[in-house]
């Protein structure tokens, strides 16, 4: 059965025709071309397809497209603002080594965002709980937990205790114009 639904997708009003049996994941990836949301299992077990529906992190592979009528849906594509800068959670994953192969990353970031939007000061147990449904095979979670913690601190308006860039800012970030030969011993 085909039906027409309307919903808010990453801030834009959308109206489209769907089939009753489509999942939200199918609608996003196959029909709307939003490939940032990943399918890792199709059974709600890995969290790679996590998106936010009305402030809740959900597995879009288990969520019927028909059920988003009138709701707000946010995907990874809705996070980077139009200036091209990254959301603090995205930036934190980049800076803290939270990303290796990257396949779990969009889902992981969306789960983290649903939590930190509510409580940027969430403690590590709460973060672990929020990410428990997102499997990562590369990182061992250590740097992902670091990333979420650092993002939370930033979102809570606190100064991060890790350097935002390369670690030791020293010579790497120095621009060519700043260079004086006297400072360098080749």
């Amino acid at each position: 059965m085909t039906k027409t639904i309307s919903f808010i997708l990453n801030g834009d009003e959308i109206s489209c025709d769907i089939q009753d049996h489509w999942t939200l994941l199918h609608l996003l990836r196959e029909e709307l071309g939003l490939i940032g949301t990943k399918e890792g299992c199709g059974n709600g077990e890995c969290g790679a397809c996590t998106v936010i529906v009305d402030q809740l992190a959900v597995n879009s592979c288990l969520y019927l497209a028909a059920d988003i009528q009138g709701k707000q849906v946010q995907t990874i594509e809705g996070l980077a603002v139009h200036t091209g800068s990254l959301h603090p959670i995205q930036q934190s994953f980049v800076d803290n080594g939270g990303i290796q192969c990257g396949f779990c990353t969009p889902g992981m970031i969306m789960s983290a965002k649903a939590l930190l939007d509510k409580d940027p000061e969430a403690d590590q147990e709460a973060v672990k709980h929020a990410l428990a449904g997102n499997i990562c095979r590369c990182t061992g979670y250590v740097q992902i937990l670091d990333s979420v913690a650092a993002a939370g601190r930033q979102m809570a308006g606190k100064k991060t205790d890790k350097a935002a860039g390369y670690g030791d800012p020293g010579p790497v970030t120095r621009q060519p114009g700043d260079q004086t030969a006297g400072e360098v011993t080749p």
């Binding site: 890792g40 990874i76 990257g102 990562c136």
Partner: protein, 758 residues
């Protein structure tokens, strides 16, 4: 620490922002105009003859473009190094994983439906699922033509006089250990897209860790199809996890090629998660019999290991893992006399491939568990026992490995310091240690262990470097960029690393054996050195000085003793380009490390250098439930040089958690050849909730042959984890678990047996 500018920096992974935004394109995201979707039908039996197959209903389904069966497979088309595996099986199936038919259709839904419409009749045959039973005389033959279930593979390394050494030993222990099937669980499932151009040249998009060897495999497939001499191009989309799973070509890739040729359209085959569990390869399971001895002072006298490997119904790289198991068996600690024999035995189970460590975790589990048993018998504490037997720089091991840089002793010190700084052990708590050796400077398992690099610089001071190496998330892109930037006095962000397309990237043997930083890194460094030389020669003419008197750093070139004479690199490049008879800066380099192929006796210097590490873990064991909780984990690795400490730590953390899964929870459960848990609900991976505190001390030994001193670190993180945990459990509650995974059931049963016995 040498004065490096970019090497040693925690530069974020070059593609991390793209991935964080959801813009990275994986095999799932490859869509080509007119693309069809392929699906594969697998066997319904572990061992059976195929007596009839009817594809007419599938062919008649609207939207179906082609149906292939084993009869459509050219007779010369065989996969795997043992060549016992056609992409589709015609007469007989040897395991549930056997592919028997495939469909191409306009959508995945239609293709799935068509596969269900294929009718197959089987005549079941007696099957065998235990490798030791499969060696019995009257066992059913998995491949009749092979005449025996034991593969004709020569895994045997004998050195010194084990029998005499055993007689002279003060203490000897022996036991039997087993390791079971586990699997890679890459978050991205497997897939490929194949297409032919109008002249029958082939392009394959595939998740592969071996673009050059896959190109060769696909060329053989084309040859078998009567298309010899046609070109093959392999394009790697962003790879969602490797861990060794992509070191062989798989049936689905060859089937996609056959379907694409038959339909004259691009064909995509993408696995679902169940298929990923059932139709990709596992880590090689083993049965290990070990004897090990030492003298009164605790010096190892001999090591004697016999193994039986369940080869499954077909053969992939799993059957060659004994070649790597030889490494820890002969060379982990100083052991003067060694005997190793391994048999690979066909059964009707699934079959194994490469997986992070390539046999090393299995062998190290037995060796390091046995080390603690021997230490206990000799009355020496486990750390001292390891220190007594540690490898040292300058050693030559029984296999003929020449140890150059070696930080094993420093790793032992670092782990002991970290772990014993904790509070005293509570009731039910224990500490365990285990060490590792691994290849850290390539591993010559093919005619060439080389990798090529092509470098070009533009008018704006930017570099494109085309490497044969493969990034599958582990961070090779950063290794290359940071090495090249360091050599050319640029920033990491100035370097664009291209590693995705055999049409533009040079040859490489593959992303295996923790070799990429060392080999692809040295190749990139070689190209960068040539470019640097050319650029400095040009600048020297310009500044009327000698190239040796120039400094190149932070995007600038200047005269060492006359800093007034300076020029930004981009300006220098433009000057070179636009002067009469202009020069564009380009350089290439092929690095093939000076390591050795194994001889007939398997002795050789397999790698230019070796990586070492020590893991220590503190656990708590619940005596009521058998549950093991990891309280603290320390993983110290001798990496030569950390090119990027953040990415290095990521490799160690990820390896440790994968190793803890191997130790405690992961198992592909197979009953009568059939996988019972092909999903993430029943295959128990660690989640964020199970994350453990890990400290990763980095030992820098500045390897003389590594790029800026670096050695490989991709695999070592998961090698000694299981024995460290087993040793800690034994230290905590006095029971020794010899079969992986160490589930609460096994621990509880051992505790109960122990209390009954006492």
């Amino acid at each position: 620490m040498k004065d490096y500018t970019v090497v040693g920096q925690r530069v974020p992974k070059l593609d991390a922002a793209q991935k964080a935004m959801g813009r990275a394109e994986y095999i799932q995201d490859v869509r080509l105009p007119g693309m069809l979707y392929g699906k594969i039908l697998y066997s319904s039996h572990a061992h059976a003859k195929i007596t009839a197959m009817d594809i007419s209903r599938a062919l008649a389904l609207p939207g179906v473009h082609a149906v292939l069966t084993g009869k459509d497979i050219p007779s010369k088309m065989r996969m795997g190094f043992y060549k016992d595996n056609p992409p589709l099986k015609a007469a007989k199936v040897c395991c549930f994983r056997d592919e028997i038919a495939a469909v191409a259709a306009v959508s995945e839904e239609v293709a799935k439906k068509a596969v269900r419409l294929i009718e197959v009749e089987y005549e079941p045959l007696p099957a065998v699922f235990d490798p030791e039973a499969a060696m019995e005389k009257d066992a059913p033959l998995v491949h009749e033509a092979h005449k025996s279930n034991v593969l004709k593979l020569p895994w045997k390394l004998h050195y010194g006089d084990v029998d005499a050494a055993e007689k002279a030993s003060a203490f000897v222990v022996e036991d039997r250990f087993t390791t079971t099937w586990v699997t890679h669980c890459c978050l991205s499932t497997s897939g490929a897209v194949a297409l032919f151009d109008a002249s029958d040249n082939l392009t394959v998009y595939s998740n592969t860790q071996i673009p050059s060897l896959a190109q060769k495999d696909f060329q053989e497939t084309l040859g078998a199809m009567g298309l010899k001499g046609k070109r093959v191009r392999v394009i790697k989309p962003v790879i969602g996890g490797g861990f060794g799973s992509k070191l062989d070509t798989y049936a689905y890739e060859h089937i996609a090629i056959l379907l694409a040729h038959k339909c004259r359209k691009p064909v995509k085959i993408l696995f679902d998660r169940k298929e990923e569990f059932e139709a990709t390869s596992t880590r090689q399971p083993t049965v290990i019999y070990i004897r090990q001895g030492c003298d009164e002072e605790g010096h190892l006298t001999f090591r004697d290991i016999r193994m039986v490997l369940d080869n499954g119904g077909r053969t992939s790289w799993g059957a060659t893992t004994p070649s790597v198991m030889m490494m820890p068996i002969t060379s982990l600690y100083r052991v003067p006399n060694v005997r190793y024999d391994a048999k690979c035995v066909y059964t009707n189970n699934t079959y194994a491939q490469a997986m992070r460590g390539y046999g090393n975790p299995q062998a190290t589990f037995a060796i390091e568990s046995c080390m603690d048993m021997l230490a206990q018998k000799a009355g020496i504490d486990p750390v001292t026992f390891r220190r007594i037997n540690r490898n040292e720089p300058g050693d030559e091991t029984p296999q003929g490995f020449k140890i150059t840089s070696c930080g094993l002793g420093q790793c032992i010190d670092a782990v002991e310091k970290e772990l014993t700084a904790d509070s005293p052990l509570a009731d039910g708590e224990g500490i365990g240690y285990a060490s590792l050796i691994h290849v850290g400077g390539g591993a010559r398992i093919y005619k060439s262990d080389g990798c090529g690099a092509i470098l070009k610089m533009d008018d704006f001071g930017k570099v494109d470097i085309f490497t044969g190496g493969t990034d599958m998330g582990q961070g090779l892109d950063n290794m290359i960029a940071q090495i090249v930037a360091e050599e050319l006095g640029l920033l990491a962000e100035d370097i664009n690393v291209v590693h995705s397309d055999t049409d533009v990237c040079p040859w490489d043997v593959g992303a295996h054996a923790s070799r990429s930083t060392f080999v692809a890194g040295n190749a990139a460094l070689g190209a960068a050195k040539k470019a640097r030389q050319t650029l400095l020669a040009f600048a020297a003419t310009l500044f009327e000085t000698a190239p040796e008197d120039l400094v190149m750093k932070n995007r600038m070139v200047w005269v060492k003793n006359d800093p007034e004479k300076s020029m930004p690199v981009d300006k220098l490049l433009r000057k070179a380009h636009f002067s009469p008879g202009g020069t564009m800066l380009m350089a290439d380099y092929f690095y093939d490390p000076p390591n050795e192929n194994m001889g007939k006796d398997f002795r050789c210097n397999l790698s230019v250098t070796y990586s070492f590490g020590v893991h220590g873990v503190r656990v708590h064991v619940d005596r009521e439930t058998g549950k093991v909780q990891v309280k603290n984990y320390v993983a110290a690795h001798d990496v030569g040089r950390a090119i990027n400490p953040m990415l290095l730590e990521g490799q160690v953390y990820g390896g440790v958690i994968m190793g803890l899964g191997y130790a405690l929870s992961e198992e592909v459960m197979i009953k009568d050849g059939q996988i019972k848990n092909p999903n993430f609900r029943d295959y128990k991976l660690f989640t964020a909730k199970d994350a453990v505190p890990i400290t990763a001390p980095v030992i820098e030994t500045d390897d003389p042959d590594g790029p800026f001193g670096a050695k490989g670190i991709g695999e070592p993180g998961c090698v000694p984890t299981a024995p460290a945990v087993a040793n800690a459990i034994c230290n905590a509650v006095g029971v020794r678990i010899k079969d992986l995974p160490i589930t609460p059931e096994k621990v509880l049963a051992a505790i109960q047996a122990q209390s009954k016995g006492s």
